[in-house]
Symmetry: C2
Subunit: 352 residues, 2 copies
């Protein structure tokens, strides 16, 4: 009778509360609380007795009640652009690992590359009371970000280099990565290179800048590198087949494609094959990201490797530091270096 736990609404059994522990130990709730937090001065005998009962009853303090009182939930939000994209799921793993290491939990939202869902997710997360969140965004609204910043809500951007005051991020150096890729193609003799990507997306915008500047540096005049908007569907997803057909039909003798990410690269290769051409014999393709399948497809993809796990891990760690140290207003901007991974999807051009 004494040891039997009483029923409650939630599930079969009622969780034991601090009050009951206090009664069993013959002390006040305050004392139990003090034992729990470990910080304050409690008599050793009292402490031991309380700890013993806590252990015996397997008492765990209610995180909900703690949250209400302390205004902290030990929860962070993570808004992923697309959980099915291996790039993001690797990032997510880094985030989760870093969070759990500090005893935080992660609430996951999937914005599905949709800017409206993204906004909704941010709203949901703040209302739910996460202590802060991480945003892997594709096409963010400046106003939303500024608003968050002005409210003082702790957050960090992942893989989105947004240089406005008071906004922190962890990114890969997309500009540098694009330089690497472009230089590699140029050194192989390519001049007619098409950049495949939606320049509305922030990371792709940087890559495009690196691409353009490198061409300029090598004094290569490369006009018309844009994806006609009719091929861009909502959420930044492309009609790759259409683009490739369009490219080939233009008779411009494109010799290489710089795809903004590996997903696009893989799809492009498929589409090129479907149009009777071969990679890399007819067209070279370089990707960006180095996702897992890149090395496994028919023609292993030459691409730019980004430290993805680290991206997530560092972002989470930075955020947690902010959370643990509220007054700290220092800028936290981390830029990671990508590397060129040479495989088989690019070929030297001799007749140039």
């Amino acid at each position: 009778m004494v040891s039997m736990l009483k029923k409650s609404k939630k599930n079969g059994f009622k969780k034991i509360t601090i009050k009951e522990i206090a009664e069993l130990a013959g002390v006040s709730r305050t004392t139990v609380s003090r034992v729990l937090s470990g910080s304050d001065f409690v008599n050793k005998n009292t402490r031991d007795r309380v700890l013993e009962i806590i252990e015996e009853k397997e008492y765990k303090p209610s995180i909900i009640a703690q949250s209400l009182r302390t205004n902290r939930t030990r929860t962070i939000g993570l808004v992923l652009a697309d959980i099915e994209n291996p790039f993001y799921s690797r990032v997510a793993k880094g985030v989760i690992d870093a969070a759990e290491a500090k005893n935080y939990n992660v609430i996951l939202c999937n914005s599905n590359n949709d800017i409206n869902l993204e906004e909704r997710d941010i709203r949901t997360l703040t209302e739910r009371g996460v202590d802060g969140f991480l945003l892997t965004t594709v096409e963010l609204k400046m106003k939303t970000i500024e608003n968050l910043r002005d409210k003082g809500f702790p957050f960090m951007l992942i893989d989105c280099k947004l240089d406005i005051p008071g906004v922190n991020y962890v990114v890969n150096d997309d500009y540098y990565g694009a330089e690497l890729a472009t230089e590699y193609l140029i050194n192989l003799g390519h001049k007619k290179i098409f950049f495949l990507g939606n320049r509305k997306l922030l990371s792709l915008r940087e890559r495009f800048r690196g691409f353009k500047d490198t061409l300029k540096r090598y004094e290569i005049n490369n006009t018309g590198n844009f994806v006609p908007t009719k091929f861009i569907k909502t959420g930044g997803i492309y009609d790759i087949e259409g683009i490739i057909r369009y490219l080939l039909s233009r008779q411009e003798n494109i010799t290489a494609i710089f795809a903004g990410n590996d997903y696009l690269a893989v799809k492009s290769i498929e589409a090129i094959n479907n149009n009777g051409l071969k990679v890399p014999e007819d067209i070279s393709v370089i990707g960006y990201d180095n996702i897992k399948i890149s090395s496994m497809i028919k023609v292993p993809l030459t691409t730019i490797r980004q430290p993805k796990y680290l991206l997530g891990k560092l972002a989470a760690e930075q955020l947690l530091e902010i959370l643990e140290n509220k007054s700290d207003r220092k800028a936290r901007r981390v830029i990671l270096r990508p590397e060129l991974v040479i495989r088989q999807s690019c070929k030297k051009i001799s007749n140039s």
Copy 2:
């Protein structure tokens, strides 16, 4: 002065509370609460006035406080065996979509195929106060599950057919899928078929059963289908290269491999190639799962397609139904049908 929000510890600004809304509207907190819940009888004029102020102040009730009072968090937990495995990330998407549709949030844990982390995750989630959770498990401890069940904590298993009373699941019919795969190989003339998989994992155990039974049905005597334990590392991950070398060295003239999942299949093909043999010319390989890369690798993989998104979506929906309807003790067991996807990794045998 009046409209200025005061500062609080958490972030720059204090959230407005029900008390303040009540004061502004000149009613009691009780009345505001009633307006919020929409259910009780409130005078229309009062209701409108309160709603107006709620809107004006953009008041959102504190989910934490609600949780404490109502003992429900509108949060479910999801324990993924491996978020980087595309199978699970697709499942996760189904879960998230279903949860958000009913205004629930998902706390994500990644057990990393580690049974100990899995137990830790379950503990974390229950302590955190999720209303229930979903478990994609690899190698669960029966005792843990029975314990959860006995405590009355709501949960469902995903892709793990555990037939003990009071435990619910949504699974693919692994037995049937294995029958499909095995029959297909047999019809191609294969008799020496090796089943590649760790039979400790529940789903693989079912697949192995289907495999064995089908062979028996066709009166094919197939001995020695096991992966020597020395190739099985912690967490059920394999030394595929080692296994393949071992297989080839045995001189048993294996003509086909039935890989327990596509991951293993893809790795096997790589390993087979590394050993100077070709798929499907020398050895046929069939996979299981139909993950995205299966169609993109050098030799597109013949495999068994499972409805992954649906798996997650249905599991979440079932769980939420349980949560919304506590007293309902009916069994919820959903079995989805897989299909054979014929691509190019299996070949007919003529000399048998």
